[in-house]
C-alpha cells in the first residue's frame, strides 16, 4: 500500500505532462461511491451491523493513445455493503487495484495483457464478466489475442488465472475460439463467390476451454485438466434467425455436483422472427452437469468460468422481481416464448399514439434422470443417467405474463400487466421444506406530463400469494395447516403471503427525481410481520454526474427509480450514491 500513493502521483504527473502535448492521448474514466447506514431492524430481518456505516467504491481510469490503451480500477469495500459477498471486505475491509490492463489493437490483431473479460459464443463454456452492482467479477488475468487478418474469420486465444476477490484462483485457464462468417470468408477467394441466396447469412463457430488444477485429493482420482468445448451455428434470412449452440464438458467431480463423474452437456436453441411492429422469440435450453469453475472447491458465484442464463423473462416491476428464477446448472430443461406487437398508429387499437402488447411464457423442468443404484457404492462413477432432451417430472418454474402499453394523448401514458407464476422456492433458494410459491400479480403504471419538463408517475401493484407443499417426487400439494389455520408445511420464512406496492415519482427534466414508495406485506401469516417498507429517494443529475440520497426500509431486489436500474440489498437506513463518467 505504501508504494501505491507515490505511484498514483506519478501516474497523474505523467498524464499532466502528456496533456500539454498536442499528440496526447485521451484519458477517461468513471467512479461510483455507495454509502449505506444501517439501523438494526429485527422485524424486517436487517442485521445488526457493528460498523453502522459501510461503503463500496470504485474508480476506473482508462488511457487511450492511437492503437494503445491501458487502464486500472481501484476498488474499496470498507466494508462491503450488505448483499455483496463478505469475501470482498474480509474481516477488516479491503481496498486495492482489482483490475489493470494494457492493450494494443489494429485491423489485424488485438492483444491484451493483464485483466480482461471474454465470452466464447453464448458463454456456455467461457464467460468472464463484471457486474459491479452485484459484486460479481471473474475477470481473467493473463494474456488474450484476437486475430482478424483473414476476412470473415476471427480467432481468439486466452491464457489466464481467474480473479477471486482480491486474489486469483488456483486453476489455469486456456482457451481458443473461432468464428467464421461464411459469405465474408468466401470473398477472400473471389469477389462474386457466393453459395447462399441474396440476403442469407450463415455463421459457424467453435471453442475449446481447458482448466488445469492439481489433484491433491488422497482418495479420488480427479481429472487435472478439465476440457469443455462448444460448436455453434447461426442462420439468417430476412426477418428470420436461428441460433443453436451445443456445449460439452468432460467429467469434473467437485463440491457443487456431489463429486459425480458424469460428463456435462448443454444445448441452446433460439429462433426469432421479426417484421416492423412484430417481434417473436422462442428459445429452448437444456443443461446437464454444466457447472464449470476454475477451482473445484469454489462455491456460489466465485471462480465460475461459464454463464448459463435463465430462459425466463427479466422483470423490472418491483413485485415481479420478488421471486426471480435462477438457472440450475446441475440439470434443467426450459422453454420460453416472447411476442411483442405494436399496433399501428391510427388503427382502432393503436389510437393516435400507438399501443403495444407483450406476451411472455416460460417453463422450466428437471431433466429426466435416474440414479444409478449399481454405481452408488463406487467411489468414482456416474451417479445418474439422463435422457438429455426430455422433460423430467419436477416443475421448477412456470411463468405467464402480459403487458399492455398505451399512450392516450400527448401527455398521458399507461402500462398494465398481469403475471401468473409458479416458483419452486425450496430448490431455487436451496431451502428444503419451503415448498413452492404460486402467485398472481397485477401491475399498473400511469405517467402524466404536467409541463414539457415536469412529469408525475404512479405505480400500483398487487401480488396474491399461495404457498404450496411439494413432496419428494415433486408433486404439488395444498399446504398443511393446524387447527388455528397456521401453516405447518411448507415452512414459511419472514416474507410470506400477499403484497401491495405503490409508488409516486415527480421529475423535473433533466435534473431532479423525487420518489416515494411503499411495499406492504399485508398477507403475512404472522400479524406482527405485516410490515410496511416505506422508502424515499431524491436524485440530482447533471450531465453524467448522478447523486442519490435515500432513506427508508428497502427489501432486496432490482430497483429501478430515478431513471436507472440497480440491484439493491435489504436494509434500513440512509443511503448515498455518487457516480460520474469523465
Amino acid at each position: 500500500m505504501r508504494t501505491f500513493l507515490p505511484a498514483l502521483l506519478a501516474f497523474f504527473s505523467v498524464i499532466t505532462l502528456t496533456a500539454q502535448n498536442q499528440n496526447d492521448g485521451v484519458i477517461g474514466g468513471n467512479f461510483q461511491v455507495d454509502v449505506q447506514s444501517y439501523t438494526p431492524d429485527s422485524l424486517i430481518g436487517a442485521q445488526n451491523v457493528p460498523e453502522k456505516v459501510r461503503s463500496n467504491a470504485f474508480l476506473n481510469l482508462n488511457y487511450t493513445k492511437g492503437n494503445f490503451s491501458a487502464g486500472i480500477r481501484y476498488e474499496s469495500y470498507l466494508k462491503e455493503i450488505l448483499g455483496f459477498s463478505p469475501n470482498w471486505g474480509g474481516k477488516e475491509g479491503n481496498a486495492g487495484i482489482g483490475y489493470r490492463y494494457a492493450r494494443y489493437t489494429n485491423d489485424d490483431i488485438d492483444v491484451t495483457i493483464g485483466n480482461f473479460y471474454e465470452q466464447f459464443g453464448n458463454g456456455m463454456i467461457l464467460r468472464t464478466y463484471e457486474e459491479r452492482g452485484l459484486g460479481l467479477d471473474n475477470a481473467l488475468d493473463g494474456v488474450r489475442a484476437k486475430l482478424t487478418m483473414i476476412k470473415g474469420l476471427q480467432i481468439t486465444g486466452v491464457f489466464g488465472k481467474q480473479r477471486s476477490f482480491f486474489t486469483v484462483g488456483p486453476g489455469i485457464v486456456r482457451g481458443i475460439d473461432g468464428e467464421l462468417l461464411l459469405e465474408d470468408f468466401l470473398k477472400n477467394f473471389g469477389d462474386n463467390l457466393s453459395i447462399l441466396p441474396e440476403g442469407w447469412r450463415l455463421r459457424f463457430g467453435g471453442g475449446v476451454v481447458s482448466k488445469y488444477e492439481q489433484d491433491l485429493d488422497p482418495t479420488l482420482n480427479l481429472p487435472e485438466n478439465v476440457l469443455a468445448y462448444n460448436t455453434r451455428m447461426t442462420f439468417q434470412a430476412g426477418g428470420f434467425a436461428l441460433d443453436a449452440e451445443y456445449a460439452s464438458k468432460i467429467n469434473d467431480p467437485k463440491t457443487t455436483n456431489a463429486n459425480t463423474y458424469n460428463p456435462g452437456r448443454a444445448l441452446y436453441i433460439n429462433g426469432s422472427y421479426s417484421a416492423p411492429g412484430l417481434g417473436i422469440n422462442i428459445s429452448l435450453k437444456s443443461l446437464d452437469n454444466m457447472d464449470y469453475r476454475s477451482s473445484r472447491r469454489s462455491q456460489l458465484t466465485d471462480l465460475v468460468l461459464n454463464y448459463l442464463p435463465a430462459v425466463t423473462k427479466q422483470y423490472t416491476y418491483r413485485l415481479l422481481t420478488l421471486y426471480p428464477y435462477a438457472t440450475q446448472p446441475n440439470g434443467e430443461i426450459g422453454v420460453q416464448a416472447d411476442v411483442l406487437y405494436t399496433f399501428p398508429k391510427g388503427s382502432f387499437i393503436g389510437g393516435k399514439y400507438g399501443t403495444s402488447i407483450n406476451i411472455n411464457y416460460s417453463r422450466v423442468h428437471s431433466i429426466d434422470s435416474t440414479r444409478n443404484l449399481t454405481d452408488s457404492t463406487a467411489i468414482e462413477g456416474n451417479l445418474y443417467t439422463t435422457k438429455f432432451m426430455s422433460f423430467g417430472k419436477k416443475l421448477f418454474f412456470d411463468d405467464f405474463n402480459v403487458e399492455i402499453q398505451k399512450k392516450w394523448s400527448k401527455d398521458f401514458k399507461s402500462n398494465f400487466g398481469f403475471m401468473r407464476q409458479y416458483y419452486l422456492k425450496e430448490l431455487i433458494e436451496l431451502l428444503p421444506g419451503t415448498g413452492a410459491i404460486r402467485s398472481d400479480v397485477i401491475t399498473s403504471e400511469f405517467i402524466y406530463s404536467l409541463t414539457a419538463t415536469q412529469t408525475i408517475r404512479f405505480e400500483i401493484q398487487h401480488m396474491a400469494v399461495e404457498h404450496r407443499k411439494v413432496d419428494d417426487e415433486g408433486n404439488d400439494k395444498d399446504a398443511i395447516k393446524d387447527a388455528n389455520g397456521k401453516t405447518i408445511s411448507p415452512k414459511l420464512d419472514n416474507n410470506n403471503g400477499s403484497w401491495v406496492y405503490a409508488l409516486a415519482e415527480y421529475t423535473i427534466a433533466p435534473q431532479w427525481f423525487i420518489s416515494l414508495f411503499n411495499e406492504y406485506n399485508y398477507g403475512n401469516e404472522d400479524p406482527n410481520r405485516r410490515l410496511n417498507y416505506l422508502s424515499g429517494n431524491i436524485i440530482y443529475v447533471k450531465d453524467a454526474l448522478r447523486l442519490t440520497l435515500g432513506y427508508g426500509r428497502v427489501r432486496g431486489g432490482i430497483l429501478c427509480v430515478g431513471g436507472v436500474c440497480r440491484p439493491v440489498p435489504a436494509s434500513n437506513g440512509f443511503s448515498l450514491s455518487v457516480s460520474s463518467t469523465f
Binding site: R100, N122, S274, Q314, I447, T453, T455, A509, A544, C565
Partner: protein, 177 residues
C-alpha cells in the same frame, strides 16, 4: 498482493510512457475500439461507426430497463424531424447479455424503432466508454469528440437534448449544461 499490485501499477506507468514515445499521431477516432455485434449478431469494431461528419447520439440501453425504453420510444417519434434538421444519427447500444440479447432484434422491430442497433453482450464498449448505469447517452460531434453526455432519463429530457444537438450540428460550442 498489495505490494504486487503496486509493482504492476508502476509497470503500467512505464508502459504508458513507452506508448507516448511510440504511438503515432492520433487518427480521428469517433468511438473507441471494442468488439461489439451488429443486430445480426456479427462481430464489428465499434470504431467503425461513423456519420459523415455529422453528430451521433450514442445511447446505451437494455431490454430490461424501463426508463431506457421510455427514452428510446419518445425519441423514436422525434427522430425523423431531428434527422432532417440536423443530420443526427441515433445509435442504440444494447448492454443486454446473452439472457436477452437474442430478443433485441425482435424487440427493436416490434417497437418500430429505426435506430442503428448494436449488441454489447459482454460490456466491452460500455467499459471503453466508462458507462456506469443505463440509460447513458453520449453526443459525439463531427470530429469524433464527446461534447455532451447524460446519465438517466426523465420525460422531457429530449427538449434539452435537441437544443444541444442543434448547437453541435451548427458547429457551435455546447452551452448551458
Amino acid at each position: 498482493m498489495k505490494s504486487l499490485n503496486s509493482l504492476m501499477f508502476i509497470g503500467f506507468l512505464s508502459l504508458i510512457m513507452c506508448m507516448n514515445a511510440f504511438a503515432q499521431d492520433n487518427v480521428k477516432q469517433v468511438i473507441p475500439a471494442a468488439s461489439i455485434k451488429n443486430i445480426k449478431g456479427e462481430k464489428v469494431n465499434s470504431a467503425t461507426i461513423t456519420n459523415d461528419g455529422k453528430p451521433i447520439l450514442l445511447n446505451f440501453w437494455a431490454t430490461w430497463c424501463k426508463p431506457c425504453i421510455q427514452e428510446l420510444s419518445n425519441l423514436s417519434s422525434l427522430y425523423d424531424d431531428w434527422k432532417e434538421a440536423t443530420g443526427v444519427k441515433i445509435v442504440a447500444v444494447s448492454v443486454d447479455d446473452v439472457r436477452n440479447s437474442a430478443k433485441v432484434a425482435p424487440f427493436v422491430n416490434g417497437k418500430r424503432w429505426e435506430y442503428e442497433v448494436y449488441l454489447d453482450e459482454n460490456g466491452d464498449l460500455k467499459r471503453a466508454m466508462n458507462v456506469n448505469n443505463v440509460p447513458h447517452a453520449f453526443l459525439i460531434d463531427g470530429n469524433g469528440k464527446v461534447v455532451w453526455q447524460h446519465n438517466s432519463y426523465a420525460p422531457g429530457d429530449e427538449e434539452k437534448l435537441y437544443e444541444v444537438i442543434k448547437q453541435v450540428a451548427a458547429g457551435q460550442e455546447v452551452t448551458g449544461h
